[in-house]
Amino acid sequence: MSVSIPVLYFHRIGAPDPIHLSTPTDLFDRQLAFLHRRGLRSITMTQLLRHVTSDDPISFPAFAVTFDDGFRDNLTEAFPVLRKHGCRAAVFPVGSLVRPDDAPPQVPPRDFNAAHQAARQGDRGDFLSRAEMREMQNSGLVEFHSHGFSHRQVFTGNRLEGAYPDTDAHWGILSAYGQPLPTGSWPVFPRGPGLVNPAWEPDFARIAAAGRDWVAEARGRGRAAVTVPRDWFRIESPPQFERRVRDDLRASREVFADLHPPGPHLVCWPWGASSDDLRRLAREEGYQGALSTAAGPTLPGGDPFRICRYPVKKGDLARFALGIWLRSSPTLARAYGLVRSWGRR
């Protein structure tokens, strides 16, 4: 009998989190206890991949645990709980955010946006170092795979959509600029995940020299479209785009190649997004599978480059139990996937 395997994904455990990508430590503990009480067993990424590719389908009730971004609380908060329950897990850190071994960790930890903003300025104190990853890997419970090297968003057009910092101070905006933003207001244009969109690289000096009050312009634009000249951007050509994507995939694979058991290399799509071209490039760059953020069943015969996951966020144990139930039944998981994809439109 083939089963659909809930692949849980978390970002942070027990961390301050205004945008709610953190799970309280005690809730995480109760969630794992619940799964074990129900007789579900945690599996490795290799087992998950072999299940999806039908090489070795799993016939027992199982689940997988994943963490995105490689925050340090995965070690300080999640790891003790994983050890307590003997639960296997995979962490997908961002290659460029790995903290140097000689850099001190940030105590107390910053919230999600502040941690990413500090990292853009060179302070990666909220993220795991390689030594810490090694410590977790040596337990035999945790493995590390790629979450891309830059985890960038890129601008995809020249229409004014908002202003920084008037919008939610999301670090994706900073990543689209590719550099820290000095005090003042900065225009925000349409943006998308960097591995599936050619970048419109903004000419930072030209925007700064314009001296415009972008907050006032964004607020006052109403329904009228406000654009800036296209020549304020360097737009990537298709070959440049492909080279950037290949470089990113290759670099991040190399960073984590020795931090997981010998076998398949996996990537977790930054921002959850992939395209046919990206999946092809990932295959060509040596990956054997990829995890997304889409909802749906995880069954033999599925696409190993589009493994669905369950975003565990806030909520009580009852809601978590409902989420597991929805993703364990192939039929329900399929139906739920359709509802969620409709909801996201």
């Binding site: 027990g14 989190d17 205004p18 709610h20 953190s22 107390p108 919230d111 806030k314 909520g315 509802v339």
Partner: protein
Amino acid sequence: MRIIQSLEGGSWSGGQQQAFFLAREMARAGHEVLLVCQAGSVLAHRAAEAGLALRTAPFRRELDPATLRVLLGAFRDFRPEVVNVHRAWAHTMWGLVALLQRFRGLIVTRRVLFRPDFNPISLVKYRTRAVRGYIAVSGAVAGRLRSLGIPDRRLCVVHPATDTDRFDPAAAHPRHGPLPVPPGAPLALMVANFHPNKGHLVLLEAFRQAATQWPDLHLALAGTGTDSPRLRGLAAATGAADRVHLLGFREDVPALLAASTFSLNASYEEGLPGTVRESAAMGVPVLAADNDSNRELGRFLPLAFFRTGSADDLARGLLSFRTRSITPTERAALREAAVRSFSVPAMVAATLEAYRTLGPQPA
């Protein structure tokens, strides 16, 4: 107007308090009001004591057939013009009633800032036309609702009220439990459940930094979970554990505030924090994180701010109170600002105006 106020939840919370105020004051103003809340809850008990029209429902889970039966019965018997719900499960269940009864007077009050999950229930309940409009407790919450695609014409901001009778420095405030602070010692108080978003870790780190420079400052933490072993360990790491008092959940918050030199709010985010308003009503100065909601409160109350999430900045803020003497005039001004801006009559009047703006006109 015939109005139903409804929410789930057994313990006393900000939402329960606002629903109680609304039901009581609207009834006093001559409206027909029915309160529909969870059986056995503190709210049900207090409403019965106050003589309010009351019906209880089980509210066992978000989708609950037994609750639906009770709500349908209440709707058919009472025939409300407005149903104002104050929490998530009541939103879901009354949304179902509204759909089944083709009712267009459902108004949802949202008090929390976090973004709802994209689960099937949320997808339906935040998109259905059965909800006539939303009342947000702050501009920050309204902004979050806007980001879900809810247009301005279906949104109103009504700040919640503070119980300025209970939080009155002139009233007697008996203490229900120990507060082992030496007489005359300066005391900083934070009332918040122990949760990563409430900033306890940042506060303890700031206290560690400030403790040596202000050797007689004491810190008290009250709220569910503040007496947990985890927090005890963190308090011990400050090197001044004898000056950190972990009080756990306390009913006698007015008494704790009365004993405090100043209070703290270190949250990363809030809807519109009640503890800041209550501290102001007691005339106790507040050092608050500069998150959106606290900055919004700062337009009405003279607050001191530190940079959200920054232990260094919070330590500087703590030390700024070392040389600052709070005069009785300042305390009186703080209380007056709280009473003026967050009184129950003002909140009730603004809510009724919101019903008129958002809901169907009274018959």
